[in-house]
Symmetry: C2
Subunit: 463 residues, 2 copies
């Protein structure tokens, strides 16, 4: 068979592939709201049927939450090819605020836009459109060759947007069935439009939350203002103490385990097409506000952070209430890199706070929040270089191993539970508005994404 | 006539006076909730009838909100006595949380308690019980002498607990009718049990509120954590900058107009029976947290403050949201003393914040919040020393000119609109639980409070 025939087939079938994607997008599979449980089931069933239509043995599998979709193709006659597991998720984010949508979120439309056509609607990019790039690549293979280029497992979950509560138990219970040589994941983006990207390092995360307790009860600021310890003032002091004037985290030992970016990778990043000006100005910033001495991209991909995500106490209504509240609250997350140990870090942050408590104050911590270390992909595996070449061929410019500021926990579970390396290739763009109103996916991302997977599958199944 | 006869009459009539107070307390005159509008009307009508029963020409007067009660007595034959205006309020605070009440809030009961009998129920102390001490003193005068010791105006409002929206227009519209020589107000407390107190200085108040704006939209902490300006971190830095390490407000010029407490007043305060340990420990504090070098009492009565009353931004729900919010919010109030000018102070605070804004941040202010300077009562008037002697006689210990941490705005309106000095005498105690469940008023406060007013009226109407 020839790769060109497969790519031609993809080109020919683009209109019907878009129709299939629209069908899937019309199902409001919002996993965070139980009102949409049946729709999640419908989306899972739709995927089972679609996988079956290209010869894959697929079924939905019950969990205490939303169903998993598992499909197997073991009919490959090619020798010495890797068995790949492809992961995606069929659930989507809620759509509110609905009034900010220009179209109905679950009535997808292909529209003309300044940078080419887009398909607009909830799930277009996250993750229905991306997930379908892989399925459409397989369909084209099947149409042209009557088979698929290697044995495959398909694994789709329906709880990614709601914290994946069933994922770990399911992986543990179905370890053998899900065993493979390499996981492929299509849930990431490109560094810049037209720059094919393999996400090779993801920051980890530590979550913590504390309440600062001052007076035994809320006090009146007339009667106690002056002598009273004010938890809002004190929590502000504590939070202000987390960073020094250069934007460095001032918690002792915070940077233990942080590693410098290798020079070769840094060179790749510098030339990866990341548009710093666009990245900053699109959200109203004129400069990077992180650690002095690091580029915007390095601050985002390769430096750890301590961010305050929630802060509250006292009166929030209209007008004034002369209250000195008994408590103040803070939610924080850290993004971790290198070998930073989330458990050790949690202790350091808590010590930092406890060492700085004023007299008559105490702190309580939320002990239900977990952490996960950073992930670095195993780019030494030959499939990474092969994929990089395949992507470079498709997009006509060198593909990059990019960093990622966020975390994709599933890759860590694949490593820990299935002993499986992951390769993350995705075609999302900065302006796709995932999790926001008017989500879209460029038709180019969908079309060339599908072609990219065909090329990647072709390349990694060759010696 | 003899003062002793009046005092004896008060002693004899205590049981029926308590019954009258209970009648008034049974009317749920909550002014903040329109569901109780009719009850507010009933309370006003009850007062009119009660005033009429002692020969006072009284009526309710309509306002856009709750009615005012105005009563006049002009039949005094005593020459050269001052015309006094007595102010109180018949409305009460809401009663929630209802489950924390041990008795029904509007079914008042006289109960035995560790420090003597109390009358328990909403409004017992704030302000129905206090207001009735004055009326009962007048009733005893009337019973014994057939008249009152001087000409009087009675002025009760029903919106004190809901911001007094009708007060200023009513005073302005009825300036002539309400003119008098001295206002008497019974809505304050005693410094300590058994220590008769005339509140001679009240702190003023400045209210302000700002929003700190950072990124144009809420950001994801994976994608923007590091480079992004985090408004929660920045607002914490700003708030932390409001005070120095000695608890002094670090806003430039903040203390302009602050005056030291005169040595003689300070001596009175030092011996006023204020129980610092009880004041602090009752709310879980072991020390005063205000300005170093000032006593707890001075911090509360005579030093200005800048307190944060509300602080919020980002995610406040259960668990974690990896958000860097676009905005953070802060509500603050200052308590003012001496000659501090609220308008000038507002400008200084705003400048302090604006001078410390990081790049890419901006601040917006709520311009709808007002301020009022501190009030110092005109204790040079002879009535103050006379009242102090009268109170000392009744309570068997020297009465004090006390400070007050809070503000009683009506006294300022009397000064500004009616050109009328106020004298604030009240018998409330720290543990009366005003605004809280299980509000009470000591029967001793009610009884000796009534006797106190008889003595005060007797003394100030003598040469």
């Amino acid at each position: 068979m020839s790769l060109d025939s497969v790519l031609n087939r993809i080109d020919d079938q683009l209109p019907s592939a878009l129709e299939r994607l629209k069908e899937l997008m019309r199902i409001p599979s919002i996993s965070t709201d139980p009102a949409y449980d049946d729709d999640c089931d419908r989306a899972a069933a739709w995927l089972v049927k679609d996988l079956q239509s290209i010869g894959i043995e697929a079924e939905t599998r019950k969990t205490p939450g939303r169903a998993m979709v598992v499909g197997h193709f073991n009919g490959s006659e090619a020798a010495n090819t890797p068995h790949v597991l492809f992961y995606g998720h069929y659930d989507v984010q809620p759509v509110d605020p609905l009034n900010l949508w220009d179209t109905a979120p679950f009535e997808p439309e292909v529209q003309d836009a300044p940078n080419g056509q887009v398909i607009r609607g909830r799930g277009a990019a996250d993750d229905k459109g991306q997930l379908m790039t892989f399925i459409e690549a397989c369909r084209a293979y099947k149409d042209v060759t009557g088979t698929l280029p290697c044995n495959m497992t398909f694994f789709f979950e329906g709880e990614e947007e709601s914290g994946s509560p069933s994922l770990i138990p399911f992986l543990e219970a179905n370890k053998d069935e899900l065993s493979a040589d390499l996981a492929l994941v299509c849930d990431t983006g490109m560094v810049a439009p037209g720059v094919p990207s393999i996400a090779s390092q993801l920051r980890g995360m530590l979550k913590d939350e504390f309440t600062l307790h001052g007076p035994r009860i809320d006090l009146h600021s007339g009667h106690y203002g002056g002598p009273a310890l004010n938890p809002l003032k004190e929590i502000s002091r504590l939070i202000a103490s987390f960073h020094d004037e250069n934007g460095r985290v001032a918690v002792q030992g915070f940077y233990d385990g942080v590693e410098d970016v290798p020079a070769e990778l840094l060179r790749q990043w510098e030339n990866c097409g990341f548009d710093e000006h666009e990245y900053l100005s699109s959200v109203g910033m004129t400069m990077a506000h992180g650690e002095t001495g690091y580029s915007t991209l390095v601050q985002q991909w390769a430096r750890p952070t301590l961010e305050i995500n929630g802060l509250w106490g006292g009166y929030q209504g209209v007008g004034t209430k002369t209250v000195i509240p008994a408590q103040a609250h803070c939610k924080l997350t850290c993004r971790l890199v290198g070998q930073m140990d989330p458990d050790a870090l949690r202790d350091k942050i808590r010590k930092h706070v406890e060492d700085r408590l004023p007299k008559d104050a105490r702190v309580t911590w939320n002990n239900s929040l977990e952490g996960s270390p950073a992930s670095v992909m195993n780019t030494e595996r030959p499939e990474f270089e092969k994929a990089r070449q395949a992507l470079s061929d498709e997009w006509g410019r060198e593909a990059v191993f990019s960093g990622m500021g966020g975390s994709i926990p599933v890759t860590r579970f694949f490593t820990d539970i299935l002993n499986l390396d992951s390769m993350l290739i995705g075609f999302g763009l900065e302006d796709d508005a995932i999790h926001s109103p008017n989500e879209k996916y460029n038709v180019e991302s969908f079309h060339k994404g599908t072609r990219s997977w065909a090329r990647v599958l072709d390349r990694i199944t060759q010696a």
